[in-house]
């Protein structure tokens, strides 16, 4: 069975809810969901919160996504295929929702034949990705024996149904929608459809809104009764075609589900692109090389594209990073950008960057500050530590840890001791991490300790009026901008604020 989401059936690891929440992964979907994809949000959310380290799977997914993104003609074709399948499945669901209509079944078969042939034709593009090839292979039906047999059956039934054009419907006079219906041959009746319409009109039954679908999708009891009468008169048997259809439909569902995810994500990429931002496919490796060029925090797009500042970042050399910098200088954004990039590339999606090289991680753990009153009877620090302990229950090897303002709920000295021990533990266990500390003294103290062979320091200090994250040989000192003044809380403002007692 074709599976565009997990082609090689490899195991996936579910990301923790906290990570998804901190990285605001699902918020990425908001924009795309408003464009008519709301119904498939659960599929997308599930996919986005599952990681895999299986390189063939990741390459498969990423290549397919990249092909759709880079070649819009192909993307349009895939969209059309998706729509065609969707239309068929919708009709098929409607068909199963009603009880007995052999005539409808035949029409459904015709519809399926048309759709399959159309999709096969649509897919005759030159595709580079394995995904396209997989689709082409699945839909190369014109030479398929089973499909040929199906077509023959369908044609046979269609011929019987042609006879429906010259029949007359006779309804027993005491009316009601449940009355007995008799069918007689009569060449000049104008077909069943018009007879049903005019009969319903006489009864004062209003037609349902125009759906463009064949008339048998109107499910009044009367119509069903007509279909039943037709089927029994002309003895339409659809046994073979039912079998073929029930074999075909799961495949169509699988393709539809897979494509819905790729197309959903495609609309997210297009949203980023529309804001003038870059999107790229990840180059995967399995030797721990991680680097990003032009990486940005796409959540900021909710505010405005102007606030987005892309960063280059290279993990090679060290496993751990301590990031410091002034308030509002983009530290959290950077952390989120890295987390999102690893997350998206861990599920084979394109990422918000110019280029990226990623060695997939086993898990991503995020720790962002917690509010008060979360955990009664335990201090804030204890709650923080409990969360940390929860992370470390699993093997930290090849996992990514993102710590934002860790240990901020204790004093600088304790925070330093805890941070130092945590860093040593993570390095010892081959984890990757980025750590933001608000205790200004911690980075210099860590540096002074000298145990920094696996540790690098980053800063968001301003160069050329831009906040970009850069590597520094030793932690840089920084001064906060006077944002306090913006809020009317500077010493001067507070002195003059309010009326003196």
């Amino acid at each position: 069975m074709i599976n565009l989401l997990n082609p090689f059936n490899t195991a996936k690891i579910r990301q923790s809810e906290n990570t998804v929440k901190c990285l605001r992964l699902f918020e990425l979907c908001d924009e795309a969901a408003t464009h008519g994809f709301r119904s498939i949000l659960p599929i997308v959310k599930k996919e986005l919160s599952e990681l895999t380290t299986d390189l063939p799977t990741l390459k498969f997914r990423s290549e397919f996504a990249a092909e759709l993104y880079n070649n819009r003609d192909v993307c349009e074709i895939i969209r059309e295929v998706y729509t065609e399948i969707g239309e068929y499945l919708k009709l098929s669901e409607a068909y199963y929702a009603i009880d007995s209509r052999k005539y409808a079944e035949t029409a459904l078969n015709i519809f399926l034949t048309e759709k399959l042939l159309k999709i096969e034709k649509l897919l005759s593009v030159e595709g580079k990705s394995e995904g396209i090839r997989m689709l082409q292979q699945t839909f190369s039906l014109s030479e398929d024996e089973e499909f040929k047999q199906f077509q023959i059956e369908v044609e046979k039934h269609t011929a019987s149904i042609d006879r429906f054009k010259s029949v007359e419907i006779n309804v027993s006079p005491d009316v009601g929608m449940r009355k007995k219906i008799e069918i007689t041959d009569s060449p000049e009746t104008g077909g069943i459809e018009s007879q049903v319409h005019s009969y319903l009109e006489r009864l004062g039954v209003k037609q349902t809104e125009e759906t463009g679908a064949p008339w048998f999708t109107m499910y009044s009891e009367f119509e069903l009764a007509v279909l039943e009468a037709l089927a029994s008169k002309y003895d339409i048997s659809t046994e073979y075609s039912s079998k073929f259809r029930s074999k075909c439909e799961p495949m169509l569902y699988a393709v539809h589900k897979g494509l819905s995810f790729y197309l959903f994500m495609q609309s997210i990429y297009e949203h980023w692109e529309g804001a003038g931002l870059s999107v790229c496919a990840t180059e995967y490796n399995d030797h721990g090389s991680n680097s990003f060029q032009g990486l940005y925090d796409s959540i900021l797009l909710k505010e405005s594209p102007e606030v987005i500042i892309p960063n280059d970042f290279d993990f090679s050399g060290e496993r751990g990073f301590v990031l410091s910098g002034a308030n509002s200088s983009g530290k959290t954004s950077f952390l989120r950008a890295v987390g999102t990039a690893f997350s998206l590339s861990g599920c084979g999606c394109l990422i918000p960057a110019k280029s990226a090289c990623v060695s997939p991680v086993n898990a991503i753990y995020t720790h962002f500050p917690q509010g008060e009153t979360v955990n009664f009877g335990f201090g804030r620090l204890k709650t923080e530590i409990d969360i940390l302990q929860g992370f470390l229950k699993n093997d930290p090897n090849n996992s990514l840890f993102l710590f934002n303002e860790i240990f901020s709920s204790t004093n600088g000295d304790d925070a330093y001791i805890y941070t130092k021990r945590l860093i040593a533990y993570l390095i010892r266990n081959n984890a990757y991490f980025i750590l933001i500390s608000h205790h200004k003294t911690i980075p210099p103290r860590l540096f002074a300790d000298g145990e920094t062979s696996q540790l690098a320091f980053l800063t968001t200090n301003v160069i050329d009026t831009k906040y970009a994250v850069r590597r520094v040989s030793s932690p840089e000192n920084y001064e906060n901008d006077s944002i306090i003044e913006e809020y009317g809380l500077s010493a001067e403002q507070l002195k003059t604020g309010g009326q003196e007692e």
Binding site: K21, C22, L300, K302, E303, V307, N327, S328, T332, F368, P369, Q370, G371, E372, T373, V374, F376, G377, F378, G379, R380, L381, K382, I385, L388, L392, N404, E405, S408, S409, T410, N411, G412, D413, D414, I417, Y418, R421, L422, A424, Y425, H438, H439, K440, T441, N480, I483, I484, E486, Y487, G488, L489, S490, A491, L494, K495, G497, G498, E500, E501
Partner: protein, 494 residues
Amino acid sequence: MIECSLLFPQKRDFDQYLDERVISDLSVGTIAAALDFDEKIMSKYLLDFSASEAELEFLHELADDFICNEGLFHELIYKKSEFELIREKTNAASKDIHSMMSLREPTTDWGGNYTIVSIFHLVSEALKAYWRFFDDILPILGNKGFRSAGLDRLKNAFFDIVSGSGFDTLRAEISNYTSLTSLSASYSGVLNFNRSFHIEKITYETVGTVQRDFRNRFKRKKTIAVKMSDRAVNRVLFNHNKSFAVKLLEMAQYYQKILEDLYEDLQFYELYISLKSFYETNGIPVSLIKNLSAKSLSFNELSDLSLIADVVSKGKDVEKNVKSNSAEIKTKKVFISGMNQGGKTVFIRSVGIAVLLAKAGLPVPAAKFFCPDLNSLYTFFPIDDIVYEANSRFRNELAMMKKIVEKTPRNSLVLMNEPFISTTEKEAVALIENLLDFFNRHNTCVITVTHFKLLLSQIDESAQSFVASGYPSFSVSEESPYLLTGHDLLPFLE
């Protein structure tokens, strides 16, 4: 409308409502859940910070009255469900009457009036139920066991309603009206009509007279005569019925409002009583605050009510898990420091909740609690990072503080829990010091929980320092700031 409230016979000052953040910062929801009380209603009482001493005295006296006569109080409370049933009936009738009012004439000759008679039936049943209700609760309110002035006022007000002149007339009218079963038999008196069939007053005998008269005039067209007379009478009946139904409905709605107010006010006393019994069941001392003239905030054996609520809801032992504190807040700058998980937050939360309870006129979980007449209470607790939008955490904290400073709190209390940890210590300490000076100038006391050594090392005589000792006593006592470090909270990293 009845000029009597069980909360306080004066209108409250809505300007003195606290910021709703106080509720979440102090975990009032946990308390409400433990008491099985509606959090919104509880918050409404707690956020009202306008109480004066007179009001507190009134509330405590009334509460005491209810507690001494617990049986009577419960009788009143249990009758609420009965009242709610009557209210439903009144609402249904009101809906029907409003749709009836839009009709200018009866829909069919007699049909319209039949409908209105059935609505009548509904309203009058509701009204009668209200009367029975008053008959039931008046003896309760008038019970000699009740001694408070508040209940006395209420009782008198209720007697006034029930014995008012309009009340008896209407009662007689309605019982007369609804005792008759058929429409044509519902009216008696004299019917006057002129040629345009204007009928001023309807009586039963003359319904027949009108019909006879019509029949005489149109002898040869008997059917038409009957129809015309019917229509004329019917129209008058309809208009008469409409206005009578509205009158009844207004009366029913008047009763409804009075009883709604009564039950809304009684909820406060339900809360009062359940809080008091909650303390007693869990061995917590109770203080009733009637006096707001204390110079400073001070207390003995004060516990954190939300912690108690949490402990109780988890089925743990309160005595073992909740520690009380005693302190006297003599200065405007108070610092709480101490080891992690030592009970700092619990301490300021206990103070915050106690002040809220005291000002709301509810019992405080302390052996002694003295409270000055504060104008307001503000809380400044760290907030969850995830709720942030693109702004930084520090910006959010500044924005929150700006809101407080803009209100220029005077003679108030501000509780800050680890403020400004999202910036560097140096900047945070400078900011906190400036803020403390600002609040001090406005005679506002600030209790600050902090880890900033820079801040703690600068404490002088103008400030007080309390230290949370942590395990095993978890007590908070007045002593020099806590500046130690190095507790191993990360054994799992070995």
